[in-house]
Every structure is written in structure tokens, then in C-alpha cells.
């Protein structure tokens, strides 16, 4: 027999039923777990772009496949979004009917039952009290034990443990709230890095992030305009090089420049203003190296933020020198001076004395030294952070070491200096100070996400630990007195229920005065 082609309606119903089934939910949960495993084993772009670049360089074919498949950004890939979406659709499909049923169950009074001896727990007693009186006593006993009770004449129905279902629903609905909080928060928010050297004022605006900014899809461009002035950056290290504290003292002012006070931003202690948060993220050194012509400074009068190369295996990052570049595009040919700053000059001197000695971590400023070298040729860009030497030639002899405050004749003793360059050029290592990297974030979803997390946890406890149970008591006139039939069952934690059942029976015996009892039957 061939089954008829399902109608459109039937197909939709089938899909809906499949989505609602626990099996689908379980499979989706496992798929989510598997996707996350991939995300933790393969380097991820948002977390470690350096590792991803390395991976792409090492594995050309595999890397291209991973890139196509979204495996280098699993948690932002279309299929991760798909699994999550399906899971949430399945969740809602399950929750809507369950929620309706629960509301109905809460409104509805406990339903009477017949044939109490068919229930797993059953007891028959003969008591002295009248049926009416006994039923009323049973109602009161169950009420006091926290049951919801309905009495019809001499029949009593009671149930308990709706909290289990309510808790479970709260737990599951909390995920919808969580998702909403994440989408709204990330979607309308932004996160970026602000780099300020000591004394610098920085304003929260797109241009000032220097490209280190991520904005949400629905972000309207409304930056806060907050003004931050870095008064002081301080860090403390142990002699082992282990950091103890990073601290930025910041004067805060609003868009109009009205002061809002001085704040200390430390790791674990961000500055908060509304839904904007400012975190201590990193630090570095900013050097002022002025190039002057005939005693007149032509470039480099502002501190420039220096960068470090990643430390090789086994070497402390604190032992690495700091680099920056002065570029003079106005010269013909163009000129670049690359700088290597050693905040603790002893580290460089130790290295010069014994190049094989282990590099020394530079934990504080002490007699800083700047090493410079002059290049000529076409410049690829004007950034102070990078120097593309592919098209450049170093000028032989135009290099040297400077202490803090020292001034050098830039081209003294150099050979092969282009004739078109001026002769009276000097360089001065004018200043060295620290800069602080602050992370600025706005996430309006945080309170919602926190609320969802609390709801989730609060719902989880009754969902796991409370149990649904039902009890009935019938009082019938008998030959020797009133026959009291007690029956009931629990859907979970049955051993617990057996004890509770015993206690209810004992209460009834005490209240109604027992004449005869049959032992409890449990199935």
C-alpha cells in the first residue's frame, strides 16, 4: 500500500512536530557541542588573529578549506547561527504549548479520581469520624502540607509540585531572554581600544579608535563623546617579572568638557558611566624623538606610541625593546628613522657586553636608551608603527645610541648620504613616558543577560529538585465507622513520596482516630 502524498498542511505539521520533539532538541544540543569543539581546537579569528595567520601560512590547502567552511570563525559562521536558530525555534515550539498547559494546570483545581486502590501508593483506614468530618480533616491536613486541595463532598483531591514545571519553564524561557540580551547588547553596542600616553586627552569618537573598533550591526554611531585624560599610568612588577598591578589614573569629562572627576582604572575595576565601561587593557612606552633642522624641530614633537615584536619562545615579553619610526616624506629621496627604545638601558648594555646572556626583563624606566638608524627610499606609508624596508636602503654610518635628553647629529659620519638631504639635521631623544591602552565598551544588553542568568539558575533548582505528586482521599461510610481510602503517586523522586505518603497517613490517623488499618501497598 502506498501512502498518499502529504498535503502542504501535513508537511508543515510534520516539520513542526519534528522540531518539537526532544530527540531533535538533543541532536541540536550535541551539534552545538560539536561545533564548539571545532571552535576551540582550530584557531579563531576574533580570539587569536596571529595564530590564524600562522595557520594559514603553514597549511595552505587546509587553511583555504577552513576559511571557506567558516571554521576559522566558528561562532560567527552561518552554520553555527543556523544550529542556534534551530535550537531556539525548537525551544519555542516546545515551550509555547507547555506554558499554556502549565497555566491551565495552575488555574484548574485538582481533579477528583475514582478507584484509588489502583494507584502505586494506597492505604485503607477505618476511622471514627464521620465521612464529612474526615474529608474536611483530610483537606486541612493536605493543605497544611502544602498541597493544592479540592474537596467535593467526601472526596478530596490534592496535588503538589507545580513549581517543578514552572521552574523548568523559567529556565527555558530564560534562554530566549538571554538571546535577546545578547543580540540587543552586541547589536547596538561597540568595543574599541583607546591608546593614551600620559598627559593626552582622548575623546570617545570613531576617528580616535585608530581602526581598533568593532561596532554592532544596529549601532547608530552615537559614541558617548566622553573625554579621558590620562594623568598617570603606573604598573608594578615583582622581581620575577610577574605583574602585580596595572593602574591608569584618568580625569573624566563629558562632551562639553565639564569635569566628572578623577578615576583610577585597574584590572578587575573598570570605570562605569551609564552603559559605557572603560577597562585597563594594556600598556606601552611612548617616546618623543625630535628631528630638527638648523635647531628648528621639523617633526616628532609629540610622543609616539611604540610597539613590541612578540617575544621568542622562552623570553619574557618585558625583555623586548620597543619600536617606532619617524618618517620624513618631504625629503627627496624620502627619509625614515627607525627607533628602538630600551626603557631600562641596562638591558641593552648587558646585551652588548654579552650577546649570549639571557635577555633582561625591563620592569621600570632606568636610564633609557634609544637606538636609531636612518633609511632612504620611497615610503610605503606614513604610520609610525610600521616600517616597510623592502624599498628602502639603510644609510651606512647613520645610526647610533642616545640617552634620555641627548641630541645627535643625525648624519654625522655617514656615507652615501643623498646630496639633496639637508646637512644640519639633528635628532634628540626628548622624552619617554608610558601609555595606557583602555578598552571602551558599550553593551546595553548586560543587565538583561544578567537577569536571564539569574532566572535560569532560579528556575533550574525547582526544575531538578521538586517533584510532582498527587494524592486523593475518599471517606465512605462503612459498617464499623468511616472507611478512609488514601491513594496517590509521584512522577519523580518516588522514595521521597513514599515517606511523605506515610506522614500524610499518620496525620490522618491522628486527626480522625483510627480503628483499623491495612498496610500500605507500593508498586
Amino acid at each position: 500500500m502506498t501512502s498518499p502524498r502529504p498535503t502542504y498542511r501535513q508537511s508543515v505539521a510534520l516539520v513542526w512536530r519534528t522540531l518539537r520533539s526532544m530527540r531533535t532538541a538533543l541532536i541540536l544540543l550535541l551539534a552545538l557541542a560539536l561545533a564548539s569543539v571545532a571552535g576551540s581546537l582550530i584557531p579563531q579569528l576574533p580570539n587569536s588573529p596571529g595564530a590564524v595567520r600562522q595557520f594559514l601560512a603553514d597549511h595552505e590547502l587546509l587553511g583555504r578549506f577552513y576559511l571557506r567552511a567558516g571554521l576559522l570563525d566558528v561562532f560567527g559562521s552561518w552554520w553555527f547561527v543556523l544550529i542556534t536558530t534551530l535550537l531556539f525555534v525548537s525551544l519555542v515550539a516546545c515551550l509555547v504549548p507547555r506554558t499554556r498547559a502549565t497555566f491551565r494546570a495552575i488555574r484548574q483545581r485538582p481533579v477528583q479520581a475514582r478507584e484509588l486502590d489502583a494507584f502505586p501508593s494506597f492505604r485503607e483506614l477505618v476511622v471514627e469520624a464521620d465521612p464529612e468530618v474526615a474529608a474536611e480533616a483530610a483537606r486541612r491536613v493536605l493543605r497544611r502540607r502544602g498541597f493544592r486541595v479540592a474537596r467535593e463532598g467526601t472526596s478530596v483531591a490534592a496535588d503538589k509540585g507545580l513549581l517543578r514545571e514552572v521552574g523548568s519553564l523559567a529556565f527555558h524561557w530564560a534562554f530566549i531572554l538571554l538571546l535577546a540580551g545578547v543580540i540587543v547588547g552586541k547589536g547596538t553596542g561597540y568595543a574599541g581600544l583607546a591608546v593614551l600616553y600620559e598627559g593626552e586627552t582622548w575623546i570617545d569618537a570613531e576617528a580616535n579608535y585608530d581602526g581598533q573598533l568593532r561596532t554592532g550591526r544596529f549601532f547608530g554611531g552615537d559614541f558617548s563623546g566622553l573625554r579621558l585624560t590620562l594623568v598617570e599610568y603606573a604598573d608594578t612588577f615583582r622581581t620575577t617579572g610577574q605583574p602585580m598591578d596595572f593602574r591608569s589614573t584618568v580625569e573624566v569629562a563629558d562632551l562639553q568638557g565639564r569635569p566628572l572627576g578623577t578615576e583610577v582604572i585597574r584590572v578587575n575595576h573598570p570605570y562605569r558611566r551609564g552603559d559605557l565601561r572603560v577597562f585597563q587593557f594594556g600598556f606601552g612606552w611612548a617616546a618623543t624623538a625630535e628631528v630638527a633642522r638648523g635647531g628648528e624641530v621639523i617633526t616628532g614633537s609629540d610622543p609616539m606610541e611604540l610597539d613590541q615584536d612578540p617575544a621568542p619562545e622562552g623570553v619574557s615579553q618585558l625583555a623586548m625593546p620597543w619600536r617606532g619610526t619617524i618618517k620624513l616624506p618631504g625629503f627627496e629621496p624620502q627619509m625614515a628613522v627607525d627607533l628602538e627604545i630600551w626603557p631600562d638601558g641596562r638591558a641593552l648594555l648587558a646585551l652588548i657586553e654579552d650577546p649570549s646572556a639571557p635577555p633582561r626583563a625591563m620592569l621600570q624606566e632606568f636610564q633609557p636608551i634609544a637606538r636609531y638608524r636612518v633609511w632612504q627610499g620611497p615610503l610605503s606609508d606614513l604610520s609610525t608603527h610600521t616600517l616597510d624596508t623592502r624599498f628602502l636602503e639603510s644609510v651606512p654610518g647613520a645610526s647610533g645610541l642616545m640617552g634620555g635628553g641627548e641630541s645627535h647629529d643625525l648624519l654625522e659620519g655617514a656615507t652615501g648620504v643623498p646630496a639633496s638631504w639637508p646637512e644640519d639635521l639633528t635628532i634628540r631623544f626628548a622624552d619617554l613616558r608610558e601609555y595606557s591602552v583602555l578598552q571602551v565598551t558599550r553593551d546595553r544588553g548586560v543587565p538583561v543577560v544578567l537577569l536571564a542568568a539569574i532566572l535560569l539558575l532560579v528556575g533550574l533548582l525547582p526544575a531538578l529538585y521538586s517533584s510532582r505528586r498527587k494524592l486523593w482521599v475518599h471517606a465512605e461510610p462503612g459498617e464499623r465507622g468511616t472507611t478512609l481510602k488514601i491513594g496517590g503517586f509521584a512522577l519523580q523522586r518516588r522514595e521521597r513520596f513514599d515517606e511523605e505518603f506515610e506522614r500524610v497517613v499518620a496525620d490522618l490517623v491522628r486527626v480522625c482516630g483510627v480503628q483499623d488499618a491495612e498496610p500500605v501497598r507500593s508498586r
Binding site: M22, Q44, P46, Q242, N268, L457
Partner: protein
């Protein structure tokens, strides 16, 4: 006492704890094999001694480092070993009155301590700034407690699977007999025997009810006990992850960033959530749900060990 004195006390106590627990483990297995009550008592006594020594080691470590002693993997493992033993003594032997599984619980604790001393042995040291937060105490305490509970639950799940297989085979064997044996209380395999004293221990008065030597508790008992541990550990794990997210919001500027440790704690959470759902789904109860719990156990171990040992991330505090 000075820092070095406390370090010495902590190290000595650690060794005492390790050897006591090895003793407790051996006695526990011996009890399972030979069913002499003295062996169970010995196992329990060694377990109590081991827990006490762990506690001394934890306190000594804290005094030596001048902070709460859960700042690196060595210390986490030490606290986890302690909690596993306490969990076994209080919940398995105390509340559930199951004594035959002691060897397995202690084996888990011994392995945890052995991992600490083999792979993560570092001296007491101060913390990096990101760890200096009261959230560390809450988050780490919750995560270690949850790991201990879930770990014990998974050890019991493994035993359940073994016993369940054995019971199924036994039942098939009985069914194949001619004539069919009468299924009495003593051979009832789908319900735990209502023994007096311990849930897995026969009443002394009735020697015919003696379970065979080497016999584990009934599969149903193991299953229920395993479920209780996991149902206890799961909300604690959830709480710990939430605390971690709250802390990350302050320390790293975001509550969730798919850092490997975060990702794996999520994977573990998802798997155990799957286990709890599977138990409520017909057709998935029993061995299938247990298999999910075992996958969860592997994930728990990866979250706990592998992420720190092999995957670089923000949680690499092991050395």
C-alpha cells in the same frame, strides 16, 4: 611559621593524603572483592585521614602563598581531590549508604592528586592581576565543587553501565533456563534490594541474600545515585559559569568571548544538559543517557586539564 615552613607542611600533608587515599582505594577494592566489614572500615578510616591531610595541605598552601589556595592547577587539583573524597564519604557512604564503590571514588581522587603532582607541581606564588578579585573565590569554588560532583557522578555512571550489562546477561541466562527459575526478591534485577544497613549491603541475619563477591550495587541504585550527583553538580556548574561570566565582564571587558576554557565549560554544560533531558525522554533512558554522561565526563576532563595543558588561552594559569 614562615612561608617555607608552611610550604613544607603543605607538601608533607599532600604526600600523606596521597598515600592514605591509595590505601583507602586498595581497602575499598578489597572490600568489594572479599566483603569483610573490617576492610570497609579501614577504607573509610584511610579516606577520612586522606581528606584531613588534604585539608591541612590546602590550608598550609594558602598560608604559604598568602591568599586563598586556588590560584593554579596544582591547587585546583588538590581541592578537587579533597572534595571528591568528602563527596564520597558524605554522600555515597553517608547518605546513600553505598559502600562497595569506595575503591572507584578513591581511585578518582588519587588520579586527581597524582595529576597535580606529576604535571602541575608549582610552588606557592602570587597571582596575576586579573585573578585578584573576590569573584575568583566564588567562581573557582563553584567550578571545583561542580567538577567533583559531576566527576563522581560519571564514575558511578561507568559502574552503572558495567552492572547494567552484567544484569542484562544474567537475566538472559536465567530466562534461558529450563524450567524457568522463580524470580524472587534475591534475584530481582530491575529494582534495588531493600537491604538493611547499607543500600548495597545484605542484612546479616539473612545469609542467602548475600550478593556475590565482587558484586556492585544494583544497576538501578547506581543509576539513581549517579543521576543525583549529576543533578547536584549541574546547577553548581551553571552557577560557576555564570560567576565566571560576571567576573570576565569586569576583568576582560566582556562576559563571554569563546576563550577555550569558556568554550569547553559550555560544551560540558551542553552535554550534561543533554544528559538531563535524555533521562526525561523515553527511549533515551538508561544506557543511552549514561553514554551521554560519559561523553560529558570526557568533556569535563578536557575542560579541566587539556585546555590548560595544550590549548593557549586566557585561562592558562597552570604554570
Amino acid at each position: 611559621m614562615s612561608v617555607t615552613d608552611w610550604t613544607r607542611v603543605a607538601n608533607l600533608s599532600f604526600d600523606v593524603a596521597l598515600f592514605s587515599l591509595i590505601g583507602a582505594m586498595v581497602a575499598g577494592f578489597a572490600y568489594l572483592a572479599f566483603r569483610r566489614r573490617a576492610l570497609s572500615t579501614l577504607s573509610r578510616a584511610a579516606g577520612v585521614l586522606g581528606a584531613a591531610a588534604c585539608l591541612v595541605a590546602i590550608v598550609g598552601r594558602g598560608l604559604a602563598a598568602g591568599r586563598t589556595p586556588w590560584g593554579n592547577m596544582y591547587e585546583y587539583s588538590l581541592v578537587m581531590g579533597f572534595l571528591v573524597v568528602v563527596g564520597h564519604l558524605v554522600l555515597v557512604e553517608g547518605r546513600a549508604k553505598v559502600r562497595t564503590v569506595a575503591g572507584f571514588s578513591y581511585a578518582f581522587a588519587v588520579l586527581t592528586l597524582a595529576m597535580a603532582t606529576l604535571f602541575f607541581d608549582v610552588g606557592p606564588a602570587p597571582l596575576v592581576p586579573a585573578l585578584n578579585s573576590y569573584w575568583r573565590q566564588i567562581h573557582v569554588t563553584a567550578m571545583i565543587s561542580a567538577s567533583s560532583l559531576l566527576g563522581l557522578g560519571c564514575v558511578l555512571t561507568m559502574l552503572y553501565l558495567v552492572k547494567e550489562r552484567w544484569e542484562a546477561r544474567e537475566l538472559a541466562r536465567l530466562r534461558a533456563q529450563h524450567p524457568l527459575p522463580i524470580m524472587g526478591a534475591s534475584t530481582e534485577v530491575d529494582a534495588p534490594p531493600a537491604y538493611a544497613g547499607g543500600a548495597d549491603e545484605p542484612a546479616a541475619a539473612d545469609p542467602s541474600a548475600l550478593p556475590p563477591r565482587g558484586g556492585l550495587p544494583a544497576a538501578a541504585t547506581l543509576d539513581r545515585l549517579a543521576y543525583r550527583f549529576i543533578a547536584f553538580g549541574f546547577p553548581v556548574w551553571t552557577f560557576g559559569v555564570i560567576c565566571g561570566a560576571i567576573w570576565a565582564q569586569d576583568a576582560w571587558g566582556r562576559y563571554w568571548g569563546w576563550d577555550p576554557k569558556e568554550t569547553w565549560s559550555f560544551i560540558t554544560w551542553v552535554i550534561f544538559a543533554g544528559y538531563l533531558h535524555a533521562r526525561a525522554t523515553s527511549g533515551w533512558r538508561g544506557a543511552r543517557a549514561a553514554a551521554i554522561a560519559l561523553v560529558g565526563f570526557v568533556s569535563l576532563l578536557v575542560t579541566y586539564y587539556a585546555v590548560n595543558l595544550w590549548i593557549a588561552g586566557l585561562h592558562s594559569y597552570s604554570t
